[in-house]
Amino acid sequence: MTTVLVSIELTPSGDVRPGLADLVAHARSIGSPVGVVTVAPGDSASVTERLGAFGLAEVLVAESAAVGAADAEPRVRALVAAAAARNPTAVLIANTVRGRDVAARVAVRLDAGLLLDIVGLHAEGKRVVGEHSVFGGAYLTASTAGDRMTVATVREGSTGEQPSPVTASASALEIDDTTVPTAVITEATEHARRSERPELRTAERVVSGGRAVGSAEGFELVERLADALGAAVGASRAAVDAGYISQDHQVGQTGVSVSPELYIALGISGAIQHRAGMQTAKTIVAVNKDETAPIFEIADFGVVGDIFTVVPALIAEVEARR
């Protein structure tokens, strides 16, 4: 079985990003996953324990005083050292802003082929082939780095698989502390989010609001429906630009691409840039006052109506049928 390195992205407070489940699932489709994580000195044991929950039986842990202070570089060095030690066929990294920085530098340092934003991975003979969803899912393409080592960024939420927990065992990974120019993180704050609400990228259900929501207060309606359905909260760029909700909820061309079981668009017209971020959802529902809104062209179920009438009634129906 060939080795696939899986890079673990931790939040400043040490939480594992839920998208790790997707990385592990993709790694399994071509080999056996080995986690690589960098932590502050002394934190090895606590992180290893939590990684077993993601189905990682083996983890290489590098301790570095630079973790949390130097941007990207500790993770880059750990992956380069792990690649030298284990000769993997592929290195998988989450397609997050930080993950892409790590992938970019690792690919150059290892002279590897870089596959971006993969939603699938398979082996064809000795080649590793990545699958990509392009232009909002209008195309599915496949690409390969051929004989080279593959470094791939993985779209979080692309498998929807739940990992089977195992007991993780850790081995220490030595990384050197040579100084190369790097950005220094002087402050890091995690966004406060309601713990019971799923994370947007990996959510199975998403309820999004658009310009027609009208105000930040109005967005509470979107959130209430989301909570009634156990969904994450999304938004169109128009709603974000209007200041109704923070930018990390933005779905679309320049925001997050989601592919949930259910996507509900409330007061979103469905401009081509928004559709690019959600049109691969399995089921799409739209509520909009404007019957000519393009969102209806791709909705499995569309309601022409006022979100302020339909949504409260829908919440009541959903709660009554529970």
Partner: protein, 259 residues
């Protein structure tokens, strides 16, 4: 301070965009080519520094076909000083490995303090080029910045940027030379004025080929294996709310086992 801003011409996101079914490359013939909105914001960020310190120079750099000159002219008309156009048929369909090698080679030809790029183009959406360039050039990078400022002037000063991504707000500090990428949270681009548009035609644009950059062994690291177009989604049921829409929606959810 010498700034180089990376510019990309892309298919308009307001039009239908297609891939060439044979090569998997973006079909540039079917949609109107425009300067990427994020490139315009990157130019704006550079020009804002030039507004604050007149000794700052802003050079635009693009790699693209002959038509990409339009994108450079747009940026020059906004107020950039000059431009570099890497134009070579051999670079058609270049992957990020080739693109980063070529642009890094072009950046090594002239002195600069800061490279500003967009965080990701609207066609490729890879978002890796700025960090790949920084890695090839051996300099620091900070990507996905929503805002940044210079502290203490160019000599010995730092760049301090803020980013908010994937649920974390960060403040990043880095020295020069360095590479940064910016997001659409940065200010909108200024409109070129009439004088700017006239002046842009006289501003120098250096045209370079891969051979001019000493690069002759350009092989893509990644090749496209297959391209499949997904059938477009079909519209399903649509009802007009007469007071019963909520119940109908709940029935629909139930029929798909969503509640």
């Amino acid at each position: 301070m010498k700034i180089i801003t990376l510019v990309k011409q892309v298919p308009d996101t307001w039009s239908e965009r297609r891939l060439d079914p044979e090569t998997g490359r973006v079909d540039r013939a079917v949609s109107e080519a425009v300067i990427d909105e994020i490139s315009e914001r990157a130019i704006e960020a550079a020009l804002a520094l030039k507004d604050a310190d007149k000794s700052t120079t802003v050079t635009l750099l693009t790699m693209g076909p002959a038509g990409a000159l339009d994108a450079l002219r747009k940026g020059l008309s906004m107020g950039a000083d000059d431009a570099v156009h890497i134009r070579d048929d051999a670079l058609q369909g270049a992957d990020v490995t080739i693109t980063s090698r070529v642009i890094a080679a072009a950046l090594l030809r002239r002195p600069w303090d800061l490279v500003i790029a967009g965080n990701e183009s609207t066609d490729g959406r890879g978002g890796v080029l700025p960090a790949m360039l920084a890695e090839r050039l051996g300099v620091a990078s900070a990507t996905g910045l929503d805002s940044f400022e210079l502290t203490g002037g160019a000599a010995g000063g730092d760049l301090v940027g803020r980013r908010s991504a994937d649920g974390v707000d960060e403040v990043l500090r880095l020295g020069f030379p360095s590479v940064v990428s910016i997001t659409e949270r940065m200010p909108d681009a200024r409109f070129p004025n009439f004088r700017g548009i006239l002046g842009a035609k006289k501003k120098p644009v250096e045209v370079l080929t891969a051979a001019d950059l000493g690069l002759t062994d350009l092989h893509p690291a990644v090749s496209v294996v297959s391209v499949a177009e997904r059938p477009p989604r079909q519209a399903g049921t649509r009802i007009i709310d007469d007071g019963s829409a909520a119940a109908a929606l709940a029935d629909f959810f139930a029929s798909r086992r969503l509640i």
